[in-house]
């Protein structure tokens, strides 16, 4: 059989789902795209057994076929072709796939489609609908704060907490925490689950930054995302998420407001002089001035910089990991950023100066102390 498709259209869809494919998987078939053509519709599926992702596009096909196409070779070929229509000729018996372009002919061997793992049937218990833009923002603001510690799997994902009226997206690596809260829902149920980081990254690349709706269905072991022709199913992290609400300090008498860009630039300069293993910087806030300092005894390096700010509260000196703090500052969109402290050994809060309606972003960073 044959089908004809534009390289550009096909490539766009393949790029979306290619992120699922792992190199050197346990079973070799997972290195393939599953192509399923039915009535002129090409459905492409990839999986690593934890995550399944499908997308589809229209093609000019002369008959229906299911075949697994080696992902790396086909993708590389298409990437290096100029935009043009290409013909895929597939011999069903020998599984040979021939890609014909104006000037070239590329032949590769596919695999049996029935060897490809089945897309799990999801019996969803509940579902919610979000706009793509909102979900995208929630992912972007949280994913960087997830943990990488394989001993604490529960922290490697984004915690999704759905209550009757709002949804919380939470990520923490035990040193810092981000909570993105969306309000204004009427869900009628309450649940929570941990979404794995890989799926979040895939969504981040696939979600359009517009108002198109994303439907999220879920049961106790899977979450199912569907939007604009793309579906993604991922296995949830089956762990208990720590009670993060307990660690958010409520009494923060010391409040700071500062220009975010100035703060980031100063942090970037000063942190060059911090100890390479601890990345410690100290913030000393007194009156309307914040002094950022860092030193590295091993190399006898040190740096200080002063910034003006608005500050209410008692003078305070508090240490942070520069990388954590900078990443969090980068995740804020507003021009001014607010920080709130209680004690040098208690968590500091980082907040945007203003939130969009229905949105509440809260970041929290644990200090790094020298406990003299």
């Amino acid at each position: 059989m044959k089908f004809i498709v534009s390289t550009n259209d096909l490539l766009k869809q393949l790029d979306l789902v290619d992120g699922v494919v792992v190199s050197k998987p346990l079973i070799p078939i997972l290195e393939n795209f599953l192509f399923e053509i039915k009535g002129g519709n090409l459905k492409i599926t990839t999986t690593d057994l934890e995550t399944f992702m499908t997308t589809s596009l229209k093609v000019e096909a002369d008959s229906d076929i299911d075949i697994a196409v080696p992902s790396k070779v086909s993708l590389e070929t298409l990437k290096n072709l100029p935009t043009q229509p290409v013909t895929f000729s597939i011999d069903e018996a020998s599984k040979s796939i021939e890609i014909n372009t104006g000037n070239g002919r590329y032949k590769l061997t596919g695999n049996e489609a029935k060897d490809f793992p089945k897309f799990p049937e999801l019996e969803s218990e509940n579902s919610i609908v979000l706009s793509s833009k909102v979900l995208l923002k929630a992912i972007n603001k949280t994913i960087f704060a997830t943990g990488t510690d394989e001993l604490r799997i529960n922290l490697t994902g984004v915690y999704c907490q759905i209550t009757d009226t709002h949804i919380n997206f939470v990520a923490t690596d035990a040193n810092r925490l981000v909570r993105v809260q969306r309000k204004g829902f009427k869900n009628g149920f309450e649940t929570s689950f941990i979404l794995p980081k890989k799926a979040m990254n895939l969504l981040k690349n696939a979600l359009p930054n517009d108002e198109s709706p994303v439907k999220i269905e879920f049961n106790s072991s899977y979450a199912f995302f569907s939007f604009t022709g793309v579906s993604l199913i991922c296995r949830l992290i089956d762990e208990r998420y720590p009670d993060y609400t307990a660690v958010i300090p409520t009494e923060n008498p010391n409040k700071l407001s500062i220009n975010r860009n100035d703060f980031i630039s100063a942090m970037k300069r000063v942190s060059i002089y911090s100890n390479k293993t601890t990345n410690q910087v100290r913030l000393k806030i007194a009156g309307s001035e914040m002094t950022i300092s860092a030193e590295d005894y091993d190399f006898a390096n040190e740096a200080t910089e002063r910034l003006s700010c608005n500050y209410e509260g008692a003078d305070i000196e508090i240490g942070f990991n520069a990388r954590f703090l900078t990443e969090m500052l980068n995740a804020v969109d507003t021009e001014e950023v607010k920080m709130e402290f209680s004690m040098p050994n208690r968590a500091g809060l980082l907040l945007p100066s203003e939130n969009e309606s229905e949105e509440d972003i809260l970041m929290l960073i644990m200090p790094m102390m020298i406990n003299v």
């Binding site: 001993l151 102390m369 020298i370 003299v372």
Partner: protein, 610 residues
């Protein structure tokens, strides 16, 4: 029935006593050589035959004796060296008991020829088994010559137990060296079956050592000298490279008397701890000079054990001296960068690794000097020890905590380390997720990432006691650790130490701890497992000295949180690791004494392809 208890005849008593003093030919050699030294000789000649069984002869040019003295000298408890019991505590001579000659005479054929420099004729006395056979006036050189033949001729049992001739000869050589080493001003000659083994000229200590240990080079032996009010120490320590798999090249002398001491030996070998593998013994010779009354020599018939008035101070002092000498001289394997700092100029021996030692060295006191400091540490220790016995647990904890705070937390902010020059890297990469290869100029560095990182962390955590406290990364979710009651006591004891190392721990309930924060920079470590593992390590290697606690903890953390083989590292991480390694005091060995790195020079590389 007749009474059965009788006084033994004198020659039997002598034979029995001889068993104590004279165990083998080497004991005879020791006694005779020491007598010769005590007689103020300038030159001593030793002859032996058949491992000392057939002949032991010691010829000196010392004071000599009058005829009466010569006869008296063979009597038991006859000596010129002490006169009253008080003298026992201020011995300046080797011998003092007046037993040696009597013992030797009881079990051998002996002959003595002696002449004082002022006399004209010498006296010759021949004794066999305590029986004087003849006393004659003969012609002889000034000094004394004692000949011991057929040792143990009348004690067959003892003779049976002698080892082979080479082994007995070896014992004799050992004894000879123990006398010859501390007396470089006396010329010694040693002949075995007529062949000369040693011909030692009188001269400096350095010459004497190099003459005796001919296999060692001048720049392989480091010289240290230090004086305090308790003792003055002169020492020669071998660089780690010349440590040997067998014992035997360890010498301790107090007031020029050889002695053995496991405790002080530990002081020195622990100074080598990370520089040499476990089963290898370093070369060292230390000479202590102390007031004679501050030691007791009379604790062992062989006089090879000495009781010091204050052993702990000597221990710390010795450890510090050895440590410093080695620290000043950590040799770079293969490569020769910075080599100039270690080079010894020919002819100028053993002057450069001079140390300026804090004489009251105490590893727990950041700064300070003088004997008072060391004494203070000692009394502190006693106080804590007393607390251990009498005071309640929490009192002791409080006391220790305040001690720690007061003593360890020096002036943190101003304690800036001087940056050491590390080799500049042209290119660096990771191999097999195990090794780091770096090219610097002409050289290729191959670094074992796991060993190197252990070393870096170990030194970092160890520095925390010297005021470079480690920052604590507070954790969002405090972890609760439940411990066995016995383990809890251990951890509770260690809390102040752990705090300095960057742990934020709080006691929670009876046998539980809350981990609020961990040392910054620890990656992917399960805090709970870390604490539990540290307790295990601590239990296994528990010692009471405070310095050792830090050491155990630092080792444990370094092992548990370090980069492992198989960890993939980013470019920044490997560069950091490389640079930090060369900031270490001892970058070349890991914490168990194995190499962390290998340097291949361009000529080494060329050799690979010949």
């Amino acid at each position: 029935m007749a009474d059965v208890i009788k006084l033994l005849p004198e020659h039997v008593a002598n034979q029995i006593a001889a068993g104590e003093v004279i165990q083998r030919p080497a004991s005879v050699v020791k006694e005779l050589l020491e007598n010769a030294v005590d007689a103020g000789s300038k030159s001593i000649i030793l002859h032996i035959k058949d491992g000392g069984r057939t002949l032991i002869q010691v010829i000196d040019d010392g004071a000599g004796m009058s005829e009466t003295d010569a006869r008296m000298s063979w009597e038991r408890h006859a000596t010129s060296k002490i006169a009253s019991a008080d003298d026992l505590f201020k011995l300046n001579t080797k011998g003092f008991r007046g037993e040696a000659l009597a013992s030797i005479a009881a079990i051998a054929h002996t002959e003595m020829r002696t002449r004082r420099h002022t006399d004209e004729v010498a006296t010759q006395i021949m004794i066999e088994g305590s029986e004087v056979k003849s006393v004659e006036a003969v012609n002889a050189n000034a000094g004394t010559c004692i000949t011991v033949k057929n040792l143990f001729y009348n004690v067959p049992a003892r003779r049976q137990f002698l080892k082979s001739n080479p082994v007995e000869t070896k014992y004799i050589i050992d004894e000879f060296l123990r006398v010859a080493l501390p007396h470089p001003d006396i010329a010694f000659e040693f002949y075995n079956n007529g062949n000369d083994i040693f011909k030692l000229k009188s001269g400096s200590m350095e010459q004497r050592i190099l003459e005796i240990f001919a296999d060692k080079k001048q720049d392989e032996i480091l010289y240290v000298e230090e004086t305090t009010s308790v003792a003055s120490i002169k020492g020669f320590v071998g660089v780690p490279q010349i440590a040997k798999k067998t014992r035997g090249e360890q010498y301790l002398f107090v007031n020029n008397r050889f002695f053995r001491d496991g405790y002080l030996n530990h002081a020195i070998s622990s100074a080598y701890k990370e520089l040499i593998p476990k089963d290898v013994f370093p070369f060292y010779i230390f000479f202590f000079s102390v007031r004679p009354e501050s030691i007791d020599v009379n604790v062992h018939p062989q006089k090879t054990e000495i009781k010091f008035e204050d052993e702990r101070i000597i221990y710390q002092f010795l450890h510090a001296v050895a440590r410093k000498a080695l620290g000043d001289h950590i040799q770079v394997p293969e490569a020769d960068f910075n080599m100039a700092a270690f080079t010894v100029k020919p002819g100028v021996y053993a002057t450069q690794p001079r140390i300026d030692l804090n004489t009251g060295f105490n590893p727990f006191v950041g700064s300070g000097s003088g004997q008072t400091q060391a004494r203070k540490a000692n009394s502190d220790w006693k106080k804590i020890f007393d607390g251990d016995v009498k005071g309640s647990f929490s009192e002791r904890y409080e006391a220790e905590q305040t001690n720690l705070k007061a003593e360890f937390v020096g002036d943190i902010k101003h304690d800036t380390r001087i940056k050491k020059e590390s080799p500049s890297i042209d290119s660096i990469w990771q191999v097999n997720k195990k090794y780091i290869m770096a090219q610097t100029g002409e050289e290729l560095y191959i670094i074992d990432q796991e060993k190197a990182h252990e070393r870096i962390l170990y030194e970092k955590y160890l520095r925390s006691i010297n005021g470079q406290q480690i920052a604590t990364q507070e954790r969002l979710f405090p972890q609760l650790v439940d411990l066995q009651p016995t383990d809890f006591v251990i951890v509770h004891d260690l809390l102040p130490h752990l705090a300095l190392m960057g742990f934020d721990l709080a006691v929670f309930g009876k046998n539980s701890l809350i981990i609020n924060g961990v040392p910054a920079g620890i990656k992917n470590a399960n805090e709970k497992l870390l604490i539990e593992g540290m307790v295990d390590d601590f239990k296994q290697t528990q010692t009471q000295a405070k310095g050792d606690r830090f050491d155990i903890l630092a080792r444990s953390i370094a092992r548990k949180t370090g980069v492992k083989q198989g960890d993939e590292l980013s470019q920044t991480e490997i560069t950091n690791l490389f640079e930090e390694l060369f900031q270490c005091e001892n970058p070349y060995f890991d914490i168990s004494g194995k190499r962390t790195l290998k340097i291949l020079s361009s000529s080494d590389l060329e050799k690979l392809f010949i």
